[in-house]
Amino acid sequence: MTMATMNDTVATTTAPVKRRSFGRDLAGLAVILALAAIGYLLFPNNLALLTRITAIALLVLSLDLVTGYCGVATLGQAALFGSGAYAAGIAAVHFGITDPLLMLVSGVLGGAFAGLVCGVVILRAHGLPQLVLSIALIHLFHEFANKASSWTGGSDGLAGIAPDPLLGLFAFDLWGRTAYGFGIGLLAVVFALLRLIVRSPFGMLCRGIKEDPIRIRAMGASPRVAIVKMYVLSGAVAGVGGALNAISTQVVGLDSLSFTLSAESLVMLVLGGTGSLFGALAGTIVFMFFEDIVSAANPFHWLTMVGALLIAVVLFAPRGLYGTAAAFVARRREAGR
């Protein structure tokens, strides 16, 4: 996957570059908040959809950590998202932990634990067997949640989650304003943290593993340990998304552990561009709005459209929307110099 080396790779340590990447972090945060405000103004009656997009954006960011930065192709990322959602939901329904921040913590822990399990299992193999392991894992999680119905509600879903007001001040209202604000806040915090992590020496190590694991091993680092760590981190991020989904919709269904959700999150990531946090966000937003419009018209045409979209992206824009746009801007800048 050498083609996905993004131009926002900031490998050098010179001061101007550092300052510029910090500026990009701030710009990214500003863009997220501005888009959130525009969304709020444009769709005040559809905040549930916007909150759902925020939760899925967290899932796609987590997938980007393992697929885009470590080069692990997985079709089972929803296992981490669903584990986070169920952990938050079970904490609320069975243990009476209804404070949203504590539910969030249990979601993060649940997601991180699922990330550890999936990471250890998936890294046993490479190539096709790895892909098959990830698919088998998501199905196993799905079947398990379906069977353990006394804890998860089975195919009826886990209902009856009633979160307390956030910080004791903001109740989760019928219009979903609090949930939306909470979601955007979480997304901004996670995004800022991830920007720091992917630029850290650890993030660089993971990129190096993606490019050439043998050389990294020769340099004395263990690729396996680094990727498992990244998987735990990815599980925590996906867990935040799952917990947000559980808190905002107040129900957790089996669809949050489905193969379809895993495949769709991969489509969103590739549509936006792998190996870039901005790409993950852009892909999610475009895909979710597209889905909302088309699937309302006809769910089966929707599937054909997604298929055609995928083929088109692979053939004409293998770097995704953000990657292609960034490359275009960079070329223009070169030409202008």
Binding site: A73, H126, H139, E143, H301, T304, G307
Partner: protein
Amino acid sequence: MQTIFSIAVDALAYGMVLFVISIGLSVTMGLMRVVNLAHGAFAMIGGYIASYAARDLGLGYGLAVLIAVFGTIVIAVPIERLLYRRIYGAPELTQVLMTIGITFCIIGIANYVFGPTLKTMPLPPGLRGSVDLGFRSIATHRLFAIACGLAVAVGLWYAIEKTAFGVKLRASVDNAAMAAALGVRTEIVYAVSFAVAVGLAALGGVVGAELLPVEPYYALRYMVTFLVVVSVGGAGSIPGALLACLLLGGIDTAGRYLMPEFGEFFFYLAVIAIVCVFPRGLAGRTR
């Protein structure tokens, strides 16, 4: 005893159907190194064509099978020319995305053309009843599926081990560049084996229609099963695929008979265990 016997027969029939469908996937994956998630979609196309020919046009079973196999090849070869060509040697993620995109498109189109209902395949009178073995009777269709599987296994073994084409095929699997340098036209080897693989998938889709019912989400539902067979057996290995099919067919059928409430839980658990222990497949070679 009764239960064990019926589990054994069903497992054998199911395993053989799996084998007929996925052996083509195994050979093309070993040959072209393409992770082809759309293979199940070709089996589904075969099932649809046969069902249309037999039910709506009123043709005989044998003729319907032939039409299905050739029809699917006719549909698949342009797809190979236009789309698959571009992803040979591409990174895995690209191949997964392209083939899953093709699968989604085929599902959407099948749904639009044939509707979301289950398609049945009317069996000829000769396959409808059951055969008495003296102490037990077996559905004739199961026996037919088993016989088809064995015939395909023997036929492929002969074609790959004993014919000139098989020699070229094995050479291309081992080292495509070297084979091409020695005068093997790998393009043609690729195209022929892709066509044979798709034809076998269609045959399996028709013969197995009783066990794996044909409906639009067929391609997605069984995609995992076929991929699992290939990765458990080891890509490109016929004995490995046969062993994997019988093993997985046995586990799945036994699980359904003995613990139906657990669904496919044990199937996936077994898959994870096998792949963890044999990361290159049961008959995989070290590269």
